[in-house]
Amino acid sequence: MGIIRQLTEKPWLVTDRGIVEDIDESAFPSAAPTGLWVYFAVATVMFSLIAAAYLMRMGVGHPGEGLDWRPTPKPPLLWVNTAILLLSSIAFQWTRAAARRGEMDRVAIGLLTAGLFAFAFLVGQLTVWWRLADAGYFLTTNPANSFFYLITTLHGLHLLGGLVAWSRTTAKLWNGFEPAEVSLSVDLCAIYWHFLFLVWLAFFYLMLST
């Protein structure tokens, strides 16, 4: 039923509309996916506002001295990290397909691979931090650096949160939960991973282009 039709129905009429006798009144299978999508809206607003602040701060400077924005160098390692995060996302997608077919051995392999890639991405990001700091690009040296560290931290924390979900999914698989339940968890993780990959891609593009 379209949203417009729902919002224009006449509520004062007494009908049997919307009454399905055999609904399962206790389980809400689509609650968790819906919740995840609502969370994406929240996170998207947050990351978009950071991007907006980034662009606005770029244009502000010290009176008389011009702009104080000096782009942070982008070490080649960032490209490697991006590729690793993409591989993690792909591994999750592969796991998702395996989970739907009920091939639990493959799910185990896929989960492990995806998780390892995600950890590798975080280690890679920390290495980038360490190299930048080594070269004198500290948090407070320049607003561009401040934003770089802020964005990578928030993105990394989101991925860490994802890894908590990942470990719970792995535990479910380990403890022999129903394939359907494992499949749902894998589904949610995979969607979340794709979202975080897109967020990273957007920020990487923003930082490369400015």
Binding site: D16, G18, L49, R57
Partner: protein
């Protein structure tokens, strides 16, 4: 989730056995709601006392020996922040949202009960961090509730050392807490409605809470980002918001940051926040008016659309808080226009409330008195909003008591009147007891007339040009003797209104222990929460089978019906209830 393997007999499953499991670490939405309400109201009491204390300073300068200028700023800051966020937002969404959403929609609980419980405990942590700032060296922040940089984190601002850090931390924790709760409210409304409860059969209370929750989910991230960035500026010395400046003769390490950037982020949250508080009040007051006038709400669909439109528009008006910060005149024109457009759906709502009362069988019960009081204060505060929404009128009035009068009327007194009305209205369902009506009416008249006497004169002070936020006015031609007298008068009334709230607390607490037992549906209301098999509703709310909904929540005084109300779960044949609930 909790009912994923629900057996036939609900009672055998997942009911907490211990007192602690039932009332402390509870996952029951009704207990969480009461926890949220009690915590929010308790915190609000602190803010109420603070306001009486700084009013004493304004009305009778120097009457309190401990009221230094620093304390004064700390008190007004904490008063504002607590009232807006920790009282109103938490009470409407965490309190009433939690209580009403599952009960009004015919659900057994929220869809993620564990996350819901965590939401409350994070909220409590946020409150504790906030209150802790009163006890750290230097005290709480005195930056004003808007926390504008650079002054908020510069030496010289009260509470600059630890107070501001605790404030920002508390806000961040609050936002995390709210996000957990908010996901629950939205998904429960979308997914867990019972059979027949289509979107357009939801009571307007739920529509208001639902749309306000969406606004909050999309607006609070702005405050979160602002708080995190300001925290970095304060602790680690970044320059997101801090320009290069000399403070107390010293060049600080900041360089090139933009205070205006903070203002944009803050008000991108701050304006929707007004509607986060107002929309639940709009929704609840619609239900109170309809029930106590025994008449269906006038223009239900228009009311729903207006809520949605107001919610959408609230995201494109934020810069009307920044007219005096300086902006491109075309932006000013845009934001003034969008601000004035909001008056259209809002006016539709006001007309519909009045038309609901028109030829209704108005019962002047205590909740109804508060609901009608709301219409007065809201119209008053809304009209002054039209003044302030225009750039050219706002500029001279900005920073005066006119603004204080406006926002207290429109988002202070109005929502609080609805809060009281709603508490009186649902108290019998929440506790199973009935309060004392005489005390309730006394409380209403003292509060309604009192707050009017406080805020109405402030419009005149504002026209006189009296600036807000001043610690002391001294002797100046700008402030005539009559204005001082008016200030003293306002303070006396404010003290009286503050003290008169004790009547409310006495009534609520005394009635809980000694009040008469309430009927399950004392207002003879049609919405689902009054049709529960037990009062107060048991864990799981509905006994063995969920109710089925056949009609909207506003079938009052239907011609030919035996009663003057038909509950939502009565089928079209009208005589017997489909499920004996």
């Amino acid at each position: 989730m909790a009912y994923a393997t629900l057996a036939d007999d609900l009672r055998e499953f997942h009911h907490p056995k211990t007192w602690v499991g039932k009332y402390v670490w509870s996952q029951d939405h009704k207990v969480i709601a009461v926890q949220y309400m009690a915590t929010a109201i308790g915190t609000g009491l602190i803010a109420l006392v603070l306001s009486d204390l700084f009013r004493l300073q304004i009305g009778f300068p120097g009457s309190l020996s401990f009221m230094t200028p620093e304390r004064y700023y700390q008190f007004i800051t904490m008063h504002g922040m607590i009232m807006v966020i920790y009282l109103l937002t938490a009470l409407f969404l965490g309190g009433f949202g939690n209580y009403l959403i599952p009960l009004m929609l015919g659900a057994r609980d929220m869809v993620f009960p564990f996350v819901n419980m965590m939401s409350y405990w994070f909220f409590l942590l946020a409150v504790l961090v906030l209150v802790a700032s009163f006890f750290v060296p230097g005290g709480p922040t005195g930056a004003g509730w808007t926390l504008y940089p650079p002054q908020a984190i510069l030496p010289g601002a009260p509470g600059r050392d630890l107070g501001i850090i605790l404030m920002l931390a508390s806000l961040a924790i609050f936002i995390i807490a709210f996000t957990m709760g908010g996901l629950n409210y939205v998904v429960t409304v979308l997914q867990a409605r019972t059979r027949g409860m289509t979107l357009m059969r939801m009571p307007l209370s739920i529509w208001g809470i639902f749309v306000a929750t969406i606004l909050a989910l999309l607006a609070f991230p702005a405050l979160f980002v602002a708080a995190v960035m300001m925290m970095l500026d304060r602790i680690l010395g970044t320059s997101f918001f801090m320009p290069a400046l000399v403070s107390m003769g010293q060049q600080l390490g900041y360089n090139g940051g933009s205070p205006i950037l903070f203002q944009h982020l803050f008000w991108f949250f701050g304006h929707p926040e007004v509607y986060i508080v107002a929309l639940p009040a709009f929704g609840i007051v619609s239900d109170l008016l309809s029930v106590h006038a025994r008449k269906n709400i006038f223009g239900y669909r228009m009311m729903v659309w207006a809520i949605v439109i107001i919610g959408g528009l609230s995201f494109i008006v934020w810069a009307h808080h920044m007219y005096v910060s300086g902006m491109n005149p075309y932006f000013g024109f845009f934001f003034a226009t969008s601000t004035l457009i909001i008056a259209v759906p809002t006016a539709i709502k006001v007309y519909n409330w009045v038309l609901t009362l028109w030829k209704g069988s108005i019962h002047f019960t205590v909740p109804m008195l508060f609901a009608i009081g709301f219409i007065f204060t809201f119209i008053n505060g809304g009209l002054t909003g039209l003044f302030l929404g225009n750039v050219s009128v706002d500029v001279p009035l900005s920073g005066t008591y006119f603004v204080v009068a406006h926002f207290h009327m429109v988002m202070g007194v109005s929502p609080i009147l609805v809060v009281f009305g709603a508490l009186y209205h649902w108290y019998p369902k929440i506790t199973g007891k009935m309060w004392n009506e005489t005390l309730g009416k006394l409380h209403f008249w003292l509060t309604f007339v009192g707050t009017y006497l406080i805020y109405f004169p402030m419009h005149y002070l504002g026209f006189l040009g009296m600036p807000r936020r001043y610690y002391e006015y001294g002797q100046s031609a700008l402030v005539p003797h009559s204005a001082h007298m008016l200030n003293a008068f306002i303070t006396v009334v404010a003290l009286a209104v503050g003290v008169s709230q004790l009547i409310f607390f006495y009534n609520m607490i005394w009635s809980y222990f000694y009040g008469p037992k309430a009927e399950s549906n004392p207002w003879r209301a049609a919405s689902l929460e009054w049709q529960t098999p037990e009062t107060p509703p048991a864990h799981g709310n509905w006994g063995p089978k969920l109710p089925t909904v056949y009609r909207w929540a506003y079938d009052y005084s239907v011609p030919g019906a035996p009663d003057d109300f038909i509950p939502q779960n009565v089928p079209a044949d009208g005589l017997s209830r489909h499920h004996q609930t």
